[in-house]
């Protein structure tokens, strides 16, 4: 039996997807903030990809300067509110908290961050204003964390910025890809509205940039172009039977779930293929949607999984079963998948080998492929002189985030191959500064 009842209403959906890091109340925030030691050259700051002055914002919560606290956070990270709940904090800031060395629980940095920024968002505090116009224009392609951070940063410097987004809503995977128990749609949208209001962000949604002519037009109209296009849809894995109708990509599955909530029908038997964080999220969420059996299958051993330990544990605690050393060889069924055929694997001298004769089938009414996203190769190849590395990542200068075609700058998943929103926020901001520097030098 599954642990979760199938949600039939928004309320039941919310119960199954209770937030892992709920908003703190004032007492909790006061108590938690009073524990921070205000370490010198604090390790948490170094561990945060955006380098937020964490002891400062925590002390500001404690001394009642909530506005200042939110400002401290947003000065480093334009997605401060979302990051507070979706960052893998145990691997980042909280993992570096010195309390860990005394077996004390680390300060709950993420939730405090979310508390301070939520207060500013709720009260509609004006923390920043756009810089006075400098007459320059930048086109941002993609409105994920990278694009938004780049746009906000550029706005503070007085740039006119147009953000072209293929989807109907801004936010990229923060809205469409993050597990629903980490952040609500409302929270994501409130932060974007908050930024939009004070920074004057011009989102042009339902507007994919897909053709060379479009790019050429952008090149003539704008002083620089920022690519924050992410890594796109789930890739084909070349498995026989992959095209059956109930075989879906994890990113697409999660997007549908984030948009439809309880109205998404998830069948009783689900198999998830993959061993990364996306696989964990897809499995966890299938279980929370009331699937009776969710099997997570990974072709290597447990130790080889790319997923964070805490994400795996979360999936298991939601009732997900795992099968390791299982290589999918075919999706079986007649038009519709009824199962996945696997073959056992083992490592021999560091190489993964199939064990002949060990085939087995796991029944499935839906198969979720969490085996990686396709990258935006086709689109990126339309840009002249834009170099991609072997793994199809955009090659950039690591300080300025400028591409090999100097008019282009890039950041986020498209550059790092798929990391966290906090990395995208950092890279987008750095790219904005890179653009400013480059344009100043070439004036």
């Amino acid at each position: 039996m599954s642990e979760y009842k199938r949600p039939t209403s928004e309320i039941e959906f919310e119960q199954n997807f209770t937030q892992k890091k709920p908003l703190m109340n004032a007492t909790e925030a006061h108590f938690e903030s009073s524990k921070c030691l205000f370490c010198y050259d604090a390790p948490c700051i170094t561990a945060c990809p955006t380098g937020i002055d964490i002891p400062l914002f925590i002390k500001q919560i404690n001394s009642g300067n909530m506005t200042g606290s939110a400002k401290t956070i947003y000065e480093s990270n334009w997605l401060g509110n979302a990051c507070g709940t979706i960052c893998p904090t145990g691997e980042l800031c909280e993992g570096a908290c010195v309390f860990n060395h005394q077996d004390l629980p680390p300060i709950q940095i993420g939730r405090l961050q979310n508390f301070a920024t939520s207060d500013a968002i709720k009260k509609d505090k004006i923390l920043f204003t756009p810089g006075s116009s400098n007459g320059r224009k930048v086109a941002v392609i993609g409105s994920g964390g990278a694009g938004i951070a780049c746009a906000c940063e550029l706005r503070t410097m007085g740039y006119e910025v147009d953000i072209y987004e293929a989807k109907s809503k801004p936010s990229g995977l923060t809205l469409h890809g993050i597990a629903a128990y980490k952040i609500t749609n409302q929270e994501v949208e409130e932060e974007i509205n908050f930024l939009e209001k004070q920074m004057g962000l011009n989102f042009i949604c339902n507007h994919p940039i897909e053709r060379k002519t479009q790019l050429e037009q952008l090149e003539t109209e704008y002083d620089a172009i920022f690519l924050g296009v992410g890594i796109g849809a789930t890739a084909q894995i070349g498995l026989p039977g992959e095209d059956k109708i109930n075989v879906v990509g994890a990113v697409e599955f999660i997007e549908e779930l984030r948009m439809k909530h309880h109205q998404l029908a998830v069948p009783n038997r689900v198999v998830v293929i993959g061993g990364g964080n996306t696989a964990m999220d897809a499995a966890s969420q299938s279980a929370r949607m009331g699937a009776e059996s969710v099997v997570l299958a990974y072709r290597r051993s447990k130790e080889d999984m790319g997923a964070y330990g805490f994400e795996y544990k979360l999936a298991i605690s939601a009732g997900v079963e795992s099968v390791f050393n299982a290589q999918p060889i075919e999706i079986v069924g007649n038009g519709k998948a009824t199962g996945v055929q696997f073959i056992r694997t083992q490592e021999v001298n560091g190489r993964l080998e199939n064990i002949q004769g060990s085939e087995f089938i796991v029944d499935a009414e839906m198969v979720i492929k969490a085996t990686g996203q396709a990258k935006q190769k086709h689109f990126l190849e339309l840009i002249d002189g834009l170099e991609l590395d072997k793994r199809k990542k955009i090659v950039v200068n690591d300080q300025s985030f400028q591409c090999t075609n100097p008019k282009y700058f890039a950041g986020g998943d498209a550059v790092n191959g798929g990391a966290e929103v906090v990395n995208a926020a950092y890279e987008g901001k750095m790219a904005a500064q890179g653009i400013e520097k480059w344009l100043n030098e070439n004036e």
Binding site: T27, K35, F38, L56, Q60, N65
Partner: protein
Amino acid sequence: MPNLNIDFAGIKSPNPFWLASAPPTNSGYQIMKAFDAGWGGAVWKTLGVPVINVSSRYGSVNYGGARMAGFSNIELITDRPLADNLREMEEVKKYFPDHAVIASLMVETKEEWIQIIKDVENAGADGIELNFGCPHGMCERGMGSAVGQEPAVLQTIVEWVMEVANIPVITKLTPNISHIVDPGLAAARGGTNAISLINTIKSIVGIDLDTYAPYPVVDGKGTNGGYCGPAVKPIALEMVKELTQHPEIKNIPVSGIGGIETWRDAVEFILLGAESVQVCTAVMHYGFGIVREMKAGLEQFMIDKGYETIYDFKGKALPNVTDWKHLNLKHKVVASIDNDKCIGCDLCYIACDDGAHQAIRIPEGNGNRIPEIIDENCVGCNLCSLVCPVEECITMEQRDDGTQHVSWDEKTKANAIPTTFDDDRAGGKGHFVPTVEDALKHRK
């Protein structure tokens, strides 16, 4: 952006945050680091006669999870050669011409005062602070608080100094005295340009239960120290107000010192009339970087309130600090508990029942621990709301309609001072008196 600049008795500073004369201002190295971190000024560790320091030197009061809620030291004035200090002072001014460098001084004879003032002026100091404060060591040699506690002596020395000084002079006062106005007036009459207070409070922070010696222990013995840190702020705030409200002193700029750690503390001092604030313990605990919280908070406060300069709100709380006899006896507040927030610790109940006015009960038989206010007994003392660990759970609600005002002073003038205990509120007429049985009901 608000403007944090101050012109303190002629000493210009980019912001009101100064380091107090103490270990953080021992050297040019530290002061340059501090200015770089955002401090506006620094009062150099006191220069004077040669001394020898002991080891160890500091003790602290830890309260619950908080370390150094109170802090004590038995360190003397600088033990570094005067020439080194002067050379470094000159160097600091070279790198930071717009920051305030103030030389704290403590010597004995008139000749010594004249000489050392000349020395620090030559080194480029922007001002002088006279240390009449240290309550340990130096006072045993007739300096520090030994001077601060003798208004006549203090005035004489201020007069000597004023005769020769060409830069602004701040007189730093000791709190180890019954009436802070006395040395304050002496400083004013001696012609001081400004006053700073408080220096540390004579104290013993604790006793080692194995060696029977007070902290900090020096080879089995100890002595009284000078107490500072967050715990002393209330005393400092009151003393600052005594001076800033005094008709003969109120026009003299005051630098507030004592327990300042956050922007809030600084704003409080300024609201009571201080123009700059000096910080020591917070820096000894957290380093110079702590100033970033103070500066950002002060700026945000000024933005939120619409103030452009420090002078827009300096002293703004002073009209509201009055004598008890002017307080409105008709004002009435009563505690109110938010049942949804209550976590059932019942600290408010026991605090009120044992420690105050028996105005809270725990209703029996309803299966929870949520206490109830007995309205008729509540005198509005605040105690329950102070002990409550939940933010905004117990609030004090106003019960008078705000139209009536009677003070003790007005009663006195109207010849209406009560001769019986007939006030209608709890505490007077009709006060609830529990029975002997109530008091002894838990007796075994």
